[in-house]
């Protein structure tokens, strides 16, 4: 049985990446990267500068072609750039360049390509983001352009939404509005991929977390899984370095964040910045921790 919209077998992951290799100018950025993205999730794609987050997003959308390996999005190969697939993908790049046309012209010229575009929803988003109307798009501020394209992307009904640093340039009210709109837009047949360095802007939104590091996926787990294996505490003083179960400790404003082996009995929050720092600085321990519990890292 296949999904009528995606063409992919129902229940299959929306995105699968197998043994992906890719590099720029003869170098190698990814060497055998593997990844799966299941429908109904908002994936947080994290990594250091140059880890390849934007590159991976471009590979998923067909903007770049892999050197080897296989990428499947909704059962299709993105590098072929088939219109049927492109009409089900929307990417919001970090660098924005909108044409010198009005918002009405933009919708008239772009919306037809997306069969799931919902004009009413788009109008609502524009209203909620308080985007000035009847203004040429290139005259809008960076944040306004971003909000306009976000509104369009959320309204176009694509199954795969790829958002590169979506909260950059957004004012504080817009960031919370963004979280609310994304949360209400995600559905069982959609996948959102959000790449960001501003994890606190989206920490209530993204789950699972995917961390890219040194050319491969270092970490790929949902937060419930993380909470079942580690917990975080905050203390005024640093814990002893040899404290039992201590994985990582980091100085923070007014104290220390510490990461410990073992589930959090009280279900305390996971700070994504600390999680990221821990995974990056102690990949061996994380690998051991998750593998020992029968979970592939």
């Amino acid at each position: 049985m296949t999904s009528e919209r995606t063409g992919a077998p129902a229940g299959d992951p929306l995105v699968t990446v197998k043994d992906l290799t890719f590099g720029y100018n003869g170098g190698q950025l990814f060497g055998g990267l593997n990844l799966r993205m299941e429908k109904g999730n908002i994936y947080g794609l994290l990594g250091l500068n140059g880890a390849g987050k934007t590159t991976l997003m471009k590979l998923l959308t067909g903007l770049l072609f892999p050197d080897s390996g296989d990428i499947r999005v909704m059962g299709d190969t993105p590098s072929l750039r088939n219109p049927s697939l492109l009409s089900r993908i929307f990417m919001l790049p970090e660098e924005l360049n909108v044409p010198s046309i009005s918002e009405t012209e933009y919708v008239l010229s772009h919306a037809v390509f997306f069969p799931g575009f919902d004009r009413d929803r788009f109008e609502r988003y524009l209203g909620e983001f308080d985007i000035p109307r009847n203004t040429k798009l290139n005259k809008l501020s960076y944040g306004q352009k971003k909000k306009f394209l976000l509104s369009f992307g959320l309204a176009c009904g694509s199954e795969l939404l790829v958002l590169d640093e979506p909260t950059n340039g957004l004012d504080i009210p817009s960031k919370s509005l963004f979280r609310r709109l994304v949360a209400e837009s995600v559905s069982d047949d959609r996948v959102f991929v959000i790449s960001t360095h501003q994890v606190r802007d989206v920490d209530s939104l993204i789950d699972p977390i995917t961390i890219l590091h040194e050319g491969s996926v270092l970490f790929e787990h949902d937060l419930a899984e993380v909470q079942s294996r580690i917990h975080m505490t905050r203390s005024v003083s640093a814990p002893p370095a040899d404290a039992d179960g201590l994985i990582y400790s980091e100085a923070a404003v007014g104290g220390y964040w510490s990461v410990w082996k073992g589930a959090d009995e009280e279900g305390g929050p996971i700070d994504l910045e600390i999680l990221f720092n821990t995974v990056i600085s102690r990949p061996d321990i994380y690998a051991q921790l998750f593998r020992s519990e029968g979970v592939a890292v």
């Binding site: 720029y24 471009k58 959308t61 067909g62 903007l63 770049l64 072609f65 072929l80 750039r81 088939n82 219109p83 049927s84 492109l86 009409s87 993908i89 990417m91 790049p93 660098e95 924005l96 360049n97 044409p99 010198s100 046309i101 012209e105 933009y106 008239l108 010229s109 772009h110 037809v112 390509f113 997306f114």
Partner: protein, 262 residues
């Protein structure tokens, strides 16, 4: 859904392009029409006779505007801030190329024809009314115009390929490439003549007389070869050049990646 060619998507792409370029095109049309009008009226005012040559104006506009438009046909393809929108637009590479090709090779020449025609009507009406110069507007249906349009479309295909091929300064680089190609061809021809007609040269490349027509000599000496070369030349120019350029442009667009703009 047809993944390669669907008329509906061609229409959508054409509409998208229209929104993007109509303002610039209107300004350019205004500049062409205004220039024609000013030349016609100034000529009538100073010379008291018709000085405007509408056919020449049409040819000039067609060559210059056509080459510029063809060179800018894929302006966003190699611009990293704009190519993502172009590449991710849900249409096939063939459709994206075809729409631009139709725009610069069919729509634009006809549009220039109409602009020059309307400008000539306005100019002729003005000069006829105020300077009693007989009303004789540009004839857009004249066969010469359409023959010229055919040749221009072929030449434009080179600039169209340049637009897809080069990352920056498309017009300049295409022009330079054509010039280098012409010079290279000239050198080859010069060497051939030098070898075949050694008696007509003194030194390395200095002809014994300035009025020697090597083309005539070639026809006299090698009539069959020259006829064959002419057939080959015409076949290449009229039959192969444009399709080749369009095909390579399509391949180039198909293979373009976002990193090409970096």
């Amino acid at each position: 859904m047809n993944q390669t060619l669907e008329p509906r998507r061609l229409g959508w792409l054409a509409r998208k392009d229209f929104f993007a370029i109509w303002r610039g095109t209107a300004i350019a049309a205004g500049a062409v029409a205004g220039s024609i009008f000013i030349i016609a009226v100034l000529g009538a005012l100073i010379e008291r006779q018709r000085v405007a040559d509408y056919s020449a104006a049409f040819q000039f506009a067609l060559v210059v505007w056509g080459a510029i438009a063809a060179s800018l046909a894929f302006g966003e393809l190699h611009d990293k801030t704009r190519n993502e929108d172009f590449l991710l637009l849900p249409a096939s590479s063939l459709e994206k190329v075809l729409v631009r090709l139709i725009r610069v090779s069919v729509v634009l020449p006809v549009f220039i024809l109409i602009v020059v025609f309307l400008a000539s009507i306005l100019s002729e009406a003005t000069t006829s009314l105020f300077f009693s110069i007989p009303f004789r507007p540009f004839n857009p249906l004249a066969g010469d115009n359409w023959t010229l349009m055919g040749c221009i479309i072929i030449m434009q295909s080179v600039f169209f390929l340049g637009a897809a091929w080069f990352k920056k300064a498309h017009l300049l680089k295409t022009g330079l490439s054509l010039m280098i190609f012409g010079i290279a061809l000239g050198f080859v021809a010069a060497f051939v003549f030098r070898l075949l007609f050694a008696a007509y040269f003194e030194g390395f490349f200095t002809p014994v007389a300035m009025n020697i027509d090597f083309e005539v000599l070639m026809h006299q000496r090698f009539p069959a070869l020259m006829d064959t070369l002419e057939v080959i030349g015409k076949t290449v120019f009229y039959g192969l050049l444009a399709p080749f350029c369009w095909f390579v442009a399509w391949l180039r667009v198909k293979e373009t990646q976002s990193s090409d703009g970096i």
